[in-house]
Symmetry: C2
Amino acid sequence: MTTSKKVAIGVDVGGTNTAIGVVDKDGNVMIKDNIATATHGDFAKFIADLSDAIKQLIKSAKMINEDIEIVGIGIGAPNGNYYNGTIEYAPNLSFRGVLHFVELLKSHFPEVPAIALTNDANAAAIGEMIYGGARGMKNFVMYTLGTGVGSGVVVNGDLVYGHDGFAGECGHTTLIPGGRLCGCGSLGHLEAYCSAPGMKRTAFELMVQYNAVDSMLANKSFLELDSKMIYDAAKAGDKVANMVFEKTGQWLGQGLADTVHHLSPEAIFLFGGPTAAGDLIFRPTKESMETHLLPIFKNKIKILPSQLKPGDAAIVGASALAWKEIEK
Amino acid sequence: MTTSKKVAIGVDVGGTNTAIGVVDKDGNVMIKDNIATATHGDFAKFIADLSDAIKQLIKSAKMINEDIEIVGIGIGAPNGNYYNGTIEYAPNLSFRGVLHFVELLKSHFPEVPAIALTNDANAAAIGEMIYGGARGMKNFVMYTLGTGVGSGVVVNGDLVYGHDGFAGECGHTTLIPGGRLCGCGSLGHLEAYCSAPGMKRTAFELMVQYNAVDSMLANKSFLELDSKMIYDAAKAGDKVANMVFEKTGQWLGQGLADTVHHLSPEAIFLFGGPTAAGDLIFRPTKESMETHLLPIFKNKIKILPSQLKPGDAAIVGASALAWKEIEK
């Protein structure tokens, strides 16, 4: 015999695929699936197909435990606006303009108590707060390092959405005035230095600077080189690769210090591929942050690895938004 | 016949003097006074004298309106910690270490319902929210430009104190890595560029760069030159002086954009001497902020002059903290 169990649906909208999962209160993914995002030209059709996939997934979950109860659906999406439930002008999606995601999805799930949407990094921050290393923390910030750099800010136990729903874009603070071109079109943003592609750019900058033809990275093209190769080379003792982590940490630490001076969080969590390098990235980041801090903040703010499982983090983070909603 | 009237006491602790005022709910100062801070070597003695001065001021206020009721005492002080009611290691005060300000003051005023302390810029932000241009705003940030650059952050209608009580030190975010020495000992902080002394440094930097012996500022020593002289010269058409405002605005706009990327406020308020220059400083600041913003934030965030009266702002801001306390 099965027992009744509350679960939330997490939806992670990506440019190519949209992942869906049924997640329990402890952050365990019971079952998951995904559908194509990119091939849907029509947004209403996409939402209809997504709804069908969610209903199918719930049916399958009920085969595992017939007494599950859906408390809500949480969605993480690029440029997701929590206040309006919309996705607004997301550069990486094929749909254009302002998409009324929550409103449309609600028409397919009138019986579900809570449906809410935010951007992916905000969802990750809520995931960390509900399931991860930030449980019990009232003030923390999450940085997600990947193709871009996202962030989510938590103050007094609540995610900060700002006046328009878009707060927490710390990846677009200026590190180096007039510096590298960022994906957003501005110059010198943190994302252009501390994302995975930013690390690739740093590797080439260093090879140029030192004419490092003997680096293990010297036989890779600009298109080919990725942050995993830099990590492997660093572990094997390559000087350039080690300097990439050193410089990335210096830049990231400068950015984290700016965040501390705004918010004085208890901890800053780092999430994403580059954080797998552990001390290689955490040590220089911490050192640089401390150097940039006012005395009153020194040796007080923790820099911690996210406790979310990399593979499921996006779904799990999104589902946490549903749990957070029903807490209210 | 007089009518009953609720008032708050505002206390502004400065390195030289401490100002005290009786302030009504509309932010009007009924009566004010001040005592020396610097000459008190002993902190308990200072608090005793401050308490006497407050009691005397209340007595005088009662001569104007015998039915006033004291709702609380709000204190603005450098390195003031809201959570503990302490001043911690303030570099500009003659008292050392951690000062238990609120605890000591409470022993002199056991009957006053609320006594609270925060730093001066946070007090100014609360003043703006209770009496000034931020009435009705839930998300805004205040920058105070003076000898230093302070800031106060408001999210969801509450001041952000962070996990330790010290949030809102935006003047110490890094603008120019490895740049000018800041008063705090770090390099390249916003305060070293956008404070009044920062503008003086910029004037000399520009005279050096352009060998501007014909500038109206060229006959002033590094010690002599102040931001008021730069303002007067700019109004009289001096090129260097005008460039100082242009550059200060560019730097400040970069910093404000970083703040927007963290918090997405409805507005950022500017307070302090340099803001008297109006468009000379507001225009380049706005232009630079917009240049540095992500598209989703462009043309949405207001930069506004503080509505607090310059002379009384510190007392009035501090008193607002008392009003905010009794709202809870």
